[in-house]
């Protein structure tokens, strides 16, 4: 067994494999399938101050090599997350490493959810700020596609908590490295990427969009080359540890992200195809390292030969 531990600055993990927010619920849904404490970390679905309905249906459309979704961040709100038994209390009780993905519609909402989680942070290993949401105060410009807003939201959250902070970048930008620099500047300890790429699917027969929200986010193998490229660009641009994701289906994909510079990775859409995917990825990373006589997974981080 190779040494799978990774060190992301303030966050130390038993292995580099996380689940991608929104694809693994709150963990409890998969604990019947495997022991989720084996994961490097469980990243839960986005949590906001208030409960939220999410978008109208249909919310998903399957496309070539991927999935388009516009779930719209349905969720229980921070109160229920902190106290409802199937949420954080469950994760605490089994001892999972938990990363809480957070979102808001204004900077104030981001700040507040971070403050609330900070106040009852037992069992929370880190916060992940999802900045791919539209800022309703600023007329809908997404935080994640505007450098100034991105800085503001991260800085606001940073002031509320000493918890390790991950900022999750949107790929729908011209220059991802600029965003990596800005959020690092604003106090983010780590960077995760990529979130979904905005896309659209149309039913030629009905002439309607295939998801009610018209556009949605593309995930899965279709986006892997774009994700790899962005992880590489960010790892070149900043020293901040990077968590890579986007279309990881197996251990080989995970290795590729780590070679490109990711210190950890997350498995998302693959879980819908195979609930055991995250565990298999751990095993396959280990097998790769053993086959190549590599003692520690840290040796492959950024080890791409260019």
């Amino acid at each position: 067994m190779a040494d799978l531990r990774v060190d992301l600055g303030k966050l130390k993990l038993k292995n580099p494999v996380m689940t991608a927010s929104g694809t693994f619920g709150y963990g409890v849904e998969y604990h019947d399938y495997f022991d989720i404490t084996r994961l490097g970390a469980v990243v839960v679905k986005g949590i906001a101050v208030e409960p939220s309905h999410g978008n109208p249906t249909p919310r998903v459309a399957e496309v070539s090599g991927g999935l388009l979704n516009a779930i719209g961040l349905q969720g229980p709100g921070v109160d229920k997350f902190l106290h409802g038994k199937e949420y954080l209390p469950f994760l605490r009780s089994i001892g999972a490493t938990v990363i809480v993905n957070i979102w808001g519609k204004t900077i104030e909402e981001y700040r507040e959810v971070a403050a609330r989680l900070n106040a009852e942070s037992a069992g929370i290993a880190a916060l992940e700020i999802n900045i791919s949401c539209p800022n309703i105060k600023e007329g809908g410009a997404a935080f994640g596609t505007d450098l100034k807003l991105a800085h503001q939201v991260v800085a606001a959250v940073r002031r509320e908590t000493a918890l390790p902070l991950i900022t999750k970048l949107s790929p729908n930008v011209t220059n991802i490295a600029d965003f990596a620099r800005t959020v690092t500047d604003a106090g983010s300890d780590m960077i995760s990427l990529i979130n979904t790429i905005t896309g659209m699917a149309i039913d030629a027969e009905t002439r309607r969009p295939r998801i009610a929200n018209v556009t949605g986010g593309l995930s899965g193998p279709a986006i892997k080359p774009v994700a790899l490229r962005m992880v590489y660009e960010v790892a070149q641009a900043v020293k901040t540890p990077v968590i890579g994701m986007g279309g990881i289906m197996n251990g080989e994909d995970a290795i590729e992200f780590m070679l490109a510079g990711a210190s950890a990775i997350a498995v998302g859409t693959a879980i819908f195809s195979d609930p055991y995917a995250p565990i298999k990825v751990i095993d396959e990373i280990n097998a790769y390292l053993e086959r190549h006589n590599i003692g520690s997974v840290t040796e492959i981080i950024g080890a791409l030969k260019v």
Partner: protein, 264 residues
Amino acid sequence: MKIGEIVSNKILQGEYLQVQFYAPEICGIAAPGQFVHVKIARLRDRLLRRPFSICDVSEDGLLTVVYKVVGSGTEVLASLEPGTVCDLLGPLGKPFSLPADHELPIIVAGGYGAAATLLLAKRSPLKGVMLLGARSKEDLILTDVFANAGFTVKTATDDGSCGLHGRVTALLPETLAAHRDQKIKFYGCGPTPMLLALAKILQDKGYHNGELSLDHLMCCGVGACFACVVKVKADNADGWRYARTCKEGPVFRVNEVYLGDNDG
């Protein structure tokens, strides 16, 4: 035999096919109304599993699914030869609760709803009535199987080719009249518009003792992704919330079904 191996795969009737998988563990614990989430071997460019109601289970571990070819996944499924191994997840979802000993089950079904309620019919203590709707005669599946299970089968078709000419819900009044003195438990499974219509009739008439199986396009099948939601009544300002049909459903109590604008 390998777990998930296809044992037979053939036309059942009209557009419907029937596939049997070797799945002893799932068969051992499956309850009526639950489903399996199938990863279809060879459908390489599509990631998602396909959900299918469990139609029947046998003691020797054979799980039956009845399905119709509607797209690429079911097309590939239809082409799989016995011996092909598929990866099945299940049984998933909240099942129907069986009627109590003295309750007469009245099942209202359309489309693959007949397949999704067969196990319920087989396991009901009292044998009741099956109201089955379809577009046309050849789409009325499993009628003999329900009859063999002791159910009285009444049918309705859109084109009048068999049974009542019209909607299946139109069979309700005479059925209710015939069983005026019995305690009835309602079950429904079929296309969403049919189920919403049925829920409205039942809620309006005060027939609260019933369960409907409402489903929607699924991804994870286990409650993790919030893709598969429908609106159910809720104690909040809007009067509804989105419930996950894979985990909180597909079976909901009649009274839970939200009758306002329901995109689900």
